[in-house]
Amino acid sequence: MRHGKYPFIIGFLVVPVALYAVFVVWAYIQAFYLSVYEWSGLGPVENFVGLGNFRKMWDDTTFWQSIKHNVFLLVFLPIITVVLALIFAFLLNVGGGHKGGVIRGVWGSKVYRIIFFFPQLLALAIVAVIFGRVFGPDKSGMINGLLPESWSPWLFLADERYAMGCILVVLVWQAVGFYVVLFSAGMGNIPTEVYEAAAIDGASRVTLFFKITIPLLWNTVQVAWVYLGIAAFDAFALVNIMTVDRGGPDGATSVLSLMIYRNAFEFSQAGYASALGVVLFFLTLTFAWVTLSATRRESVEA
C-alpha cells in the first residue's frame, strides 16, 4: 500500500524546489555575499571591502534622506489607512443603527464596498500614471483644473515640500478599500447578538465602535498594520513613475527601493545595491517584530 511513496514525493517536489532554489534562495544568498564586495555588475567579483559598503551608506546623504522618507510613509500610511478603513467598515456594517433590535449597515453598503475596493485591482504602476496627471502642475491636471480660474496652479509633485505628501495620498487612496473589505469580513464574524445586547443597554455607536468592534478586530488590525508597513518600504512604482526626475525634485521623494534599483541598474553599483537590500531586509524584519510585540494584547474571542 505504501509502495511508490518516495518516488511520488520527489516527483512532486523536484520542480518547485529547483525553481525556488535557483531564482529565490540563490538570489538572496548572493545578495548577502555581494553586500561585502565592491562590484559594478561586470567582470569577476573580487574587490572585497568587508563592511565598506555599509560605511559608505553611513556617509551617504541620499541614504539618510531615503530613510527619512520611508519612515514618513511607515508612520502615516498605516495609521491613516487603518483609521479611515475602520470607520468606513464600521459605518457599512453597523452604521445603520438598530431597527427592531437588529443591527444593520447603512443602506447601499454593498455598492460602497464594490467602489471602494476597485483601486486595489489596479497595478500601482497604473495608479502612478493616473495620479501623475491628477497632480499635473498646470490646468491639464485634474486638481488644478478644478481650482478657480484666478488661482495660480499648485505644483504638487514639483514642490519639494509637498511631493512626499502626494505619494502618501496616493498610497492611502489605493489601500483604504482593501482594508474596508478586510475589516468588514472581520466585523461580519462578530456575532450580532453582541452588538444587540450592547445596543439594548443603550450603548451609542461610538461606544460600540471602541468597546466592541476594535477589541474583537485587534488581530486583523495588527495584520493590516504590518502589511501597510511593508508597503511603505516599497512605493517603488510610484516614485519611479510619478515623481519629478524619479525621486526628485532634488531627492525630495527618494526612497530605499528606488535607491536599490538605481544603484543596481543605472549607477553600476551592484555591490552597494545589495548592501542596501540587506539593510532593507533588516529594517522590514525589525518593523514587523516591533509592531507585533508592541501591539500584543490579551486576545479577545468573540
Binding site: G97, F118, L121, L122, G145
Partner: protein, 301 residues
C-alpha cells in the same frame, strides 16, 4: 473625516441610557452617508476624469474644467493608443505571461503544498520552512543577483525567464496558504481511495484537488491579480536588446506616460489608460465577490 468620528457623538456614550432618539439616529445615518459618498467620489473621480479626458483633444485637456463633457466623442485617441503606442501588443504580452505563470504557479504550488501538508518524510519541515521564509525577504534585496542569474542563463529579456521568476516568487505564499488548506481537509476519503488501490498521483488530481476547490480559486485569483500588476520584475527582466517588443502592460503604460510628458501630449495616454482599466472593471463587475474574497484571503489567515 472629522465629521464621521463625531457623527455618533450626537448621543453621548453613557451606560444604561435609553436608545438613541429617532431624530438623532437619522442625522447620524445621514452624516454616515455623506462620509461614504465623499470617499466613493474620491475613489471614482480620478477614474471618471481619465475616461472623459480620453475623448478630448489635447487643447481641450489644457482648458481645465476636468469634468466637462468632451466637445465631441473622438475615438482617434484610441486608435493612436492601440496601434501607435502599442497598447494592444503590451496587453497581449501581459495576458500571455500571466496565463502561463499563474497556471504554472498553481500546478507546482499545489503539488508541493500537498506533499508537504500530508506526507511524512525526512526533510519535510526543512523544505516547508525554506519556502515560507521567502515571505520575509523583500524582493528588492534579490534584484541585482536575480538580474545576473538570468543573464548567466541567457534568459534576460525573454518571456521564459519572466514566467519562471513569476512562478518562483509566487511559490512561498501559494504553498503557505495551500498547505494549511490541504491540512484542514478530512483524511477519510483519501484513506478509502488508498484501500481501493488509487495511486498517490491519482488521489491528488482526482480527489484532493476537487476537494480543495475553494482554496484553489482564492489563491488563483490572488496570483492572477498579483502577477498582472507586477511592475518591478518586468522592468528588471524585460530589458536589453529586443525587449521593447516584449514589454508588459504596466511597463508599457509607464513608458507612454514618459514620452507623453516630453511632448505634453496627454490625450493618447488617457486613451491607453482607459484601454488598460476597462477590462479590469468588466472582470471585476462579473467576479467582484470572488475577487474580494481571493485578495483578502491571505490576510484573514
Amino acid at each position: 473625516m472629522t465629521t464621521i468620528t463625531k457623527t455618533p457623538g450626537t448621543t453621548a456614550p453613557s451606560a444604561g441610557r435609553a436608545p438613541e432618539p429617532k431624530r438623532d439616529l437619522k442625522i447620524a445615518t445621514g452624516l454616515s452617508h455623506v462620509a461614504l459618498v465623499a470617499w466613493a467620489v474620491i475613489t471614482a473621480g480620478p477614474l471618471l476624469w481619465v475616461l472623459l479626458a480620453s475623448f478630448k483633444s489635447n487643447t481641450e485637456i489644457f482648458l481645465g474644467k476636468p469634468f466637462a463633457l468632451p466637445n465631441e466623442f473622438s475615438f482617434s485617441t484610441y486608435v493612436n493608443a492601440w496601434s501607435d503606442a502599442h497598447i494592444g501588443r503590451y496587453f497581449i504580452n501581459s495576458v500571455f505571461v500571466v496565463l502561463i505563470s499563474t497556471a504554472g504557479t498553481m500546478l507546482l504550488g499545489s503539488m508541493a503544498a500537498y506533499v508537504l501538508a500530508r506526507y511524512k518524510f525526512p526533510g519535510n519541515r526543512a523544505i516547508y520552512y525554506l519556502f515560507v521564509s521567502g515571505l520575509a525577504f523583500p524582493t528588492f534585496m534579490a534584484l541585482a543577483p536575480l538580474f545576473y542569474i538570468l543573464k548567466g542563463m541567457g534568459l534576460l529579456g525573454s518571456f521564459t525567464g519572466l514566467i519562471l521568476v513569476y512562478i518562483a516568487y509566487s511559490l512561498p505564499f501559494t504553498i503557505f496558504f495551500l498547505a494549511a488548506f490541504f491540512k484542514s481537509l478530512p483524511y477519510e476519503i483519501e484513506e478509502a481511495a488508498t484501500v481501493d488501490g488509487a495511486s498517490h498521483t491519482r488521489k491528488f488530481f482526482q480527489i484532493m484537488m476537487p476537494m480543495a476547490r475553494s482554496g484553489l480559486v482564492s489563491i488563483t485569483i490572488f496570483n492572477i491579480v498579483g502577477q498582472w500588476n507586477q511592475y518591478l520584475l518586468p522592468v528588471v527582466i524585460m530589458s536589453g536588446p529586443g525587449a521593447d517588443r516584449k514589454l508588459l502592460l504596466t511597463q508599457g503604460i509607464a513608458q507612454i506616460s514618459v514620452s507623453a510628458g516630453y511632448q505634453a501630449e496627454w490625450s493618447t495616454l488617457f486613451a491607453a489608460l482607459v484601454l488598460t482599466i476597462l477590462p479590469m472593471i468588466i472582470v471585476y463587475a462579473i467576479f467582484q465577490r470572488q475577487i474580494q474574497a481571493g485578495l483578502t484571503a491571505g490576510a484573514v489567515k
